[in-house]
């Protein structure tokens, strides 16, 4: 499926900003399931310095600075992407058991396993503490195939937790989400990642988008019209597999990946340091157009 995504972030400042340095992770990365046909950033006011590089996790990062005094900063990413339906997701009961997967992660040093191993460790926003391990335990019965265990975990999160944008913000700790059983897609992804890592397995955070208007006859997904987030699990025999706990599904061809990392802090869409400005208001809009096959 082909999509055109228009992702706009605008900061309206109370006072003039004279100087600003920014980092943007809004340009979608290519992956085995995703081809990036075109992708560009429109920045207003025009930056005096602009560079794109690939970061530690393989994401596209745009770095820019603005010296022109301004009251509004607007960054728009326009991208055209082709998403290929992820294979092998229908049959969750197959694959190796989760303990065997853990053992492979610990001992094997092949390139992809070694790369996955970093995602078994704690990260800035996700600490796999005993409370998360306790919550995870019900899904990890002895010998259970790994995809099935993760699928069960995803379903339980979807069932046990309420989607509530009013309850959490970017700095809400995971413990609070777990205690009150409320949050947004970002919290659910972090929660699942922490649960999976508590079992010695590898999970990473994926930021991206989902289609705004569903095809006829299908329901609109939660998290449309904004940045979305889910998680991905490393299956030693199959590679990485995505799960969306907010929508209780394994992404097919309606999820568009922008970036991935250990948690949200690795893939923040727009970061900046500004001089001046005082208070600011932030507005974000995302439009995902389905361009057909």
């Amino acid at each position: 499926m082909r999509y055109r995504i228009t992702h706009t972030t605008a900061y309206n400042y109370q006072q003039t900003v004279g100087l600003s340095y920014n980092e943007v992770r809004m340009l979608p990365r290519p992956s085995p399931n995703q081809q990036v046909i075109d992708s560009k950033l429109q920045i207003s006011p025009a930056p005096c310095d602009y560079r794109v590089r690939t970061d530690f996790f393989g994401n596209q990062v745009a770095w820019f600075s603005i010296r022109e005094p301004h009251l509004t900063l607007q960054v728009t990413a326009v991208s055209e992407v082709r998403v290929i339906r992820q294979p092998g997701q229908t049959d969750l009961g197959h694959g190796i058991g989760w303990e065997a997967a853990r053992e492979i992660l610990r001992s094997e040093t092949g390139e992809s396993t070694l790369d996955a191993r970093q995602y078994t460790l704690d990260s800035p926003l996700v600490n796999a503490d005993p409370d998360l391990a306790a919550y995870a335990q019900a899904s990890f019965a002895a010998g259970r195939p790994l995809p099935e265990a993760i699928h069960d975990l995803m379903q339980r999160i979807h069932r046990d937790f309420t989607f509530d944008p009013e309850f959490t913000n970017l700095s809400t700790p995971l413990a609070t989400v777990l205690e009150h059983r409320r949050g947004v897609c970002q919290d659910f992804a972090h929660l699942a990642i922490g649960c999976i890592r508590s079992q010695g397995l590898a999970a990473r955070y994926v930021s991206g988008y989902i289609e705004t208007l569903p095809p006829p006859g299908q329901a609109k997904l939660v998290g449309a019209d904004a940045s979305h987030a889910w998680f991905s699990v490393y299956l030693p025999d199959l590679g990485w597999m995505d799960f969306d706990p907010t929508n209780n599904q394994t992404p097919g061809d309606r999820h568009i990946v922008v970036a991935w990392g250990r948690d949200y802090s690795d893939v923040t869409p727009l970061k900046g340091v500004i001089f001046g400005g005082q208070d600011h208001e932030l507005s974000v809009s995302v439009e995902v157009e389905n361009l057909g096959l």
Binding site: Y21, C48, R51, D55, F56, L121, G272, V273
Partner: protein, 843 residues
């Protein structure tokens, strides 16, 4: 040579455990060969003389402002540096082995650093566990694939060494981010060679200066290829940092500008220094800021110490940082367990210098060992946060041990256990006799294009009490000089280059430094003016007070109001309760003389002056700094006299006036006439002008009886040191006309307003300004106007009393001049000192 043995009295005092190793004494109680000469000389000098020399060394260090800030201790700021008069001696033979081992270790750590931010072969080949590196807070993923130009990534390296019971030297820790201590080692050396010159010479001690030459060469070698003479700056977190003294000292010694994060800015892919003469491109940053704090955009966003955008300039290769961002990844005790294997892999050699035995708990066998042997191990986190220290298992209670076992089991990859070793002892002078103390040696290396250079010596620190193995500056250790000497003393034959400073190219003055210097000038002048006036007031208050004489009272009240105005301690004698205060002014004057919490008090003004001076410590000569130290001592002495009352403080005030004058004089004589000197003198002249104008308005805008004014004139002449000058000039009675002429118009009186304005005009004309701009600038315009008002002023008219009973002309003309001078201060601030807004992070 003849063997010298210890006198009985000495030997009995120098007690040590039978199985411990002592650096000076061998197992049979004899002095080791390389200590013979030193100990003989020390004993011949006698304890009294050595103590005397010791005090002399401490005085030198204190006067040079050598300090170490201790966090969380109310008296911890600028704690004087402590130096033991007995150096640690290392024989040349042993040093040869230490050097070979350390240079190998430096090369090895350099290769590891390059690998961890490059191909990561060590992890792929299973020579380093991924968990040990990726769990470490110093592994900065944003620094991946970033390389310095040149052969070396690790430019500066320091290692802490100690001798274990097996008599071998062991490496206890590696410092690879922003190693501190080299400057202190140099200061120790300078102090020792001054108080024990013959000892130092006869022992043929290796000199340190060459190390600092290597440092300069090493920094030049990593500069982006652009110019012959790269601009190097020293980046400091600021005066509150524990080793700020050293940052300022190294900057001054090496001839580099000392800067804080907001002195630098990123523009067009380069780093620039915000200086008085505009933006100056920076090639190399010698950083003393931890890497996580260096760029709030890509690293810790709450950092106010860094430079937004810095990391991307590094990535583009347009600036080099030593040590590079991310080099903290090597400060990981867990690495020690893997170094032997890595040495074989990279160098094909065994490690020449062992690390202390270390078990990383991220491996199951090692974890079991550590848990089982916890009471006799040292526990360390792999990543040390500020304020965290090693934990000694043998000092823990049963419950604490259990808690630690739980903590380690919960996150085993985050901890190591290390062998608890008893280090060797060396003699220290404590309580008047020589006693054995455990000691640690920090060695310093720097990478030049052709390899690493080791400082021949180092910073030795000894425990504050016998048997203590936790030796850190924060915990109150005592430093020692370290002498690498030949086993047989040799006569000094070759003339060596002295340890004096190396010449550097003139640096542009950072705007912040100019700001600080300006305020040193203003506050020094304010303090001096305040003290003079308070001193004159005390005299009048205590010597022949004529409390019933209305003329006396009137002049006294005016004088007191002048005190409030000059010190800037409003409301004071102008406030709502002024009437009460004027009746019994002693309490308020005492507060002004002693209460540091009162804004405008003498201690407050002097503290501000000293703080500004300290922030630009690198710009003062050592004599000037000694005077700053004396000023602080004297105001503290005055504060201690609080209970004895004002009268008893006069001597301290006399001294302070002298010392403050000495400060001005020294600064005048020892600073080159560059921008720094200009701003110091502008600050002084501006403050003196403002004080004078405010004084004259307060004193004479409202006419008083002639007798009262005569008394006032006498006090003001006295306080401004003009009484004798007045009498020489006018030989007349004290009258307002000649008084105003002397203080306002006399161009040759260095305390007149005309004189201040003339100097300011000269100085402002020399300040850097935009090229090509020939028009008169704002500062010049303000001064020209003030000068005109002053010169067309008519003394008769100024004294005339208007219908409303006031000296309207005097009040309004002086009021205008005051406004112009105050405006000048603001304009200078806006033009030269503006640092812009503080940055904030968006999220």
């Amino acid at each position: 040579m003849t063997t010298f043995s210890l006198p009985e009295s000495f030997a009995s005092a120098y007690r040590q455990e039978p199985d411990g190793y002592d650096e000076m004494l061998d197992e049979t109680g004899r002095i080791r060969a390389h200590w013979q000469h030193l100990m003989q000389a020390l004993i011949q000098l006698g304890p009294e003389e050595v103590s005397q020399r010791h005090r002399e060394a401490l005085r030198l260090l204190r006067e040079n402002g050598v300090t170490y800030n201790v966090y969380g201790d109310p008296d911890g700021a600028n704690r004087p540096w402590r130096l033991d008069p007995v150096p640690l001696l290392v024989s040349s033979d042993e040093w040869f082995d230490i050097e070979a081992g350390l240079l190998q270790r430096a090369e090895l750590l350099n290769l590891i650093l390059a690998d961890l931010y490059g191909p990561r072969q060590l992890i792929k080949k299973n020579l380093l566990p991924l968990e040990l590196v990726y769990n470490h807070g110093g592994f900065l993923r944003v620094c991946d694939q970033v390389r310095l130009a040149g052969q070396h990534q690790l430019i500066l390296y320091a290692a802490d060494l100690a001798r274990g019971p097996d008599r071998k030297m062991w490496v206890l820790g590696d410092r690879t981010q922003a190693p501190s201590g080299a400057g202190y080692a140099l200061e120790n050396r300078l102090a020792m060679s001054r108080v024990l010159p013959s000892l130092f010479r006869d022992n043929q001690v290796h000199r340190l200066a060459r190390f600092f030459q290597s440092l300069r060469a090493g920094l030049n070698a990593v500069a982006p290829k652009r110019s012959e003479l790269p601009r190097v700056v020293v980046l400091t977190p600021g005066p509150l940092n524990e080793t700020f003294f050293e940052h300022a000292y190294l900057a001054a010694y090496l001839g580099y500008a000392l800067v804080q994060g907001d002195d630098l800015t990123v523009r067009d892919g380069c780093v620039w220094l915000k200086s008085l003469t505009g933006l100056q491109r920076v090639d190399v940053i010698l950083r003393r800021v931890d890497d996580n704090y260096c760029d709030p955009l890509e690293l810790r966003e709450d950092s106010r110490l860094g430079v937004p955008g810095l990391l991307d300039v590094v990535r583009r290769g347009n600036v080099a940082i030593a040590n590079p961002l991310g080099s903290g990844v090597l400060e990981n005790p867990g690495l020690m367990a893997f170094l032997p294997g890595i040495a074989e892999y990279f160098l094909g050699q065994p490690l020449k210098l062992n690390s202390i035995a270390t078990w990383w708990c991220g491996q199951s066998r090692e974890l079991s060992y550590v848990l089982a042997n916890l009471p006799r191990l040292v526990i360390k986190p792999i990543y040390r946060k500020p304020g965290e220290h090693a934990v000694f298992g043998h000092k823990l209670s049963r419950a604490e041990l259990a808690a630690w076992r739980q903590r380690i089991q919960a996150r085993p990859a985050f901890y190591v256990g290390q062998e608890y070793e008893s280090f060797s002892t060396a003699p220290s002078l404590a309580d008047g006799c020589y006693q054995p103390r455990q000691s640690l040696l920090r060695c310093f290396m720097v990478a030049r294009a052709d390899g690493y250079t080791l400082m021949p010596g180092g910073l030795t620190r000894s425990a504050h009490s016998y048997g203590e193995m936790l030796i850190t500056n924060q915990m109150g250790s005592i430093s020692k000089d370290t002498w690498v000497i030949a086993s047989e003393p040799q006569l000094s034959s070759v003339a060596q280059a002295g340890d004096n400073g190396l010449s550097g190219h003139a640096n542009a003055l950072p705007s912040r430094a100019a700001d600080n210097i300006f305020w040193v000038g203003r506050n020094a002048e304010r303090a001096e003016g305040g003290i003079r006036l308070i001193r004159a007031t005390i005299k009048k208050l205590f010597i022949n007070p004529e409390r019933d004489n209305p003329d006396y009272q009137e002049s006294m009240h005016t004088l007191l109001r002048c005190v409030t105005g000059t010190t800037g301690s409003y409301p004071g004698f102008f406030g709502e309760d002024a009437e009460e205060l004027l009746k019994a002014p002693e309490a308020e004057l005492l507060v002004l003389a002693t209460d540091a919490d009162r804004i405008g008090s003498l201690p407050d003004t002097i503290n501000r002056m000293a703080q500004s001076a300290y922030a630009v410590r690198d710009l003062w000569s050592s004599d000037t700094w000694r005077v700053v130290d004396e000023i602080e001592e004297q105001i503290a002495a005055a504060q201690r006299l609080r209970k004895s009352g004002l009268w008893s403080m006069q001597e301290q005030m006399d001294q302070l006036v002298t010392t403050l004058s000495a400060f001005s004089g020294l600064a005048m004589e020892s600073m080159t006439r560059g921008d720094g000197w200009l701003f110091l003198d502008i600050g002084r002249r501006l403050e003196r002008g403002l004080q004078l104008v405010s004084l004259l308005r307060t004193a004479f805008a409202e006419p008083q009886s002639e007798a009262a004014e005569t008394r006032l004139i006498e006090s003001l002449l006295d306080s401004s040191d003009n009484l004798i000058c007045y009498r020489q000039h006018y030989r007349a009675n004290l009258e307002l006309t000649p008084f105003l002429e002397l203080l306002l118009l006399d161009p040759n009186n260095p305390r007149s307003l005309a004189y201040q304005i003339a100097r300011l005009q000269e100085h402002v004309g020399k300040l850097p300004r935009e090229a090509g701009n020939r028009r008169i600038n704002a500062e010049e315009r303000l001064l020209l106007e003030a000068s005109c008002i002053l010169h067309i002023a008519n003394i008769e008219e100024l004294q005339s009393v208007a219908e409303n009973g006031k000296r309207e002309a005097l009040d309004s003309q002086l009021g205008k001049i005051y406004g112009l001078l105050a405006n000048l201060s603001e304009t200078l601030t806006a033009t030269y000192f503006r640092h812009g807004d503080a940055p904030q992070s968006l999220s």
